[in-house]
């Protein structure tokens, strides 16, 4: 007593809550758990766990090295479990249209200037700036959330992840 233990979740150790219905449909609450989603997804599969019109929050299993992505607008990455390295690059020429929503996967590392590197641990939030290209890397299986707009790489598999 007096010593509080803050309970963060991890892929190895999470407890999932849920919806108890009095008079409603559980599907209305689109209830999932990011660690469970990451656990059951392929590496770097960017699974939408929340969506509000065009905007999404993606949860991803961070494992090994991701593809390169480019995005016309800001995105943010939040590490929920593990450690994730972010490499940022300023492309020599624009890789996506200015109006393009969401991240676009690139076939290869693009030409451009090195912007820098972030090493994010649990609870750290990093900027993936508009107009840059980025790649993520995790030595050990980790879990990230990405604040972005639904785009070509966003996976929507609600029936698989949500309480119904």
């Amino acid at each position: 007593m007096g010593q509080y233990q803050t309970r963060f979740g991890s892929m190895a150790d999470y407890a999932k809550g849920g919806v108890a219905i009095i008079n409603d449909d559980p599907k209305n609450y689109v209830f999932s758990n990011v660690f469970e989603v990451a656990e059951k997804s392929a590496p770097w599969e960017r699974v939408a766990v929340a969506k509000n019109f065009e905007y999404v929050i993606e949860a991803a299993r961070a494992e090994g090295t991701s593809p390169w992505y480019a995005c016309a607008h800001d995105e943010f990455v939040l590490v929920m479990d593990g450690q994730v390295e972010v490499h940022l690059l300023k492309p020599a020429t624009p890789l996506v249209d200015a109006g393009q929503q969401g991240a676009v996967e690139l076939a290869d590392m693009p030409d451009g200037a090195k912007m820098g590197r972030l090493v994010l641990e649990r609870g750290h939030q990093g900027l993936l700036p508009a107009g840059s290209a980025y790649r993520l890397h995790a030595d050990n299986v980790s879990c990230v959330l990405i604040q972005t707009i639904a785009g070509p790489v966003t996976v929507q598999k609600w029936a698989d992840i949500c309480q119904s």
């Binding site: 599907k27 019109f53 995105e75 939040l78 912007m115 750290h124």
Partner: protein, 345 residues
Amino acid sequence: MAILESATAAAAAKPLSDNVVTHAEVGPIDNATGYRTFTAGDFHFRRDEYFARITWPAGGSHVAPIDAFLRALMRDVAWGFFYGTVNFDDVVGTVNHYGEVTLFAGTYNDAYRDAGRDFSQRFPSEVLGPLFKEMITDWTNAGYDPFAAPMETGVPWGAKNGSNLEAVNRVRVAARRMVGLPGDTPVRTDDNGFPVNRMFADVDQRQPLVEAEPGFEGEVSAYNLFGYLSRSDVTWNPSVCSVVGESLFCPTSEEFSLPVDHGNDRCEWFITLSDEIVWDIRDKVTGRPRAKLVAKAGDVSCMPADIRHKGYADKRAMLLVWENASNRIPEMIAAGEAPNVSVTW
């Protein structure tokens, strides 16, 4: 608070509705209690040692324990009436029309409405907002902080006894792009007045490694969000930490209970970042219980647009509230085109 300045500015430019009431008045100091009375249209507000007393025409009246009332009023003031409905309790609250605001009694209570005993009036936000601000200022005594958790503040009871301007005048925190960027909201430290909360003493305070190449220092950026939240001095008060267009990450630290029953006018998402929060879900219009939600670290849930929610946390918890602040949404709501749930499958 997570309403974009642009939304408020856009709304303020609209002409007032026909039925809008502009009368608001700060009354004299009561001899017995030392508190002022307040009038908004035909609503009257009075506080005494234990209660806020609210009356409205045709004999309408309501008594609210002053602790709960001040905690709710503080949020409504600090949030600029927030999104949708802010129920102070089962009877009284506000509905935000973004530029105008409805003050109501019984409107979102089945029994009052069925009996034809509900009453509401619509005000310009710039009329009701400052009145509520004066009310929370006058009714808050020295030593009591309506934003704080119960174990971290004094008691609100008794006759007028000083004030707590520092507490009620806290400026809302809204990053424009992301916390920690140059010129944006700074990270929290002991030195700038944000010590780690007693319930988050075990939260890692190390900052991420950030290596920016020359010329990219303003864009290569990261910070410790969990550390930032562990240093919040307020509860149940979302602040914007990162912005993608109209998508706002509004994390907050939660302890005891949400002082209002929030009935959003659009879908609102919660991601529990730490510990556990229990949510009571009731129908937005009738107030009848619909569901109970237990959310643990990593849990994601959508609050549909047709409910009201009130949360409970015994251990201080970190909650990511995710809002869509789009200006288009109020119009879609008015046109009946906004979905109750943003995802179906």
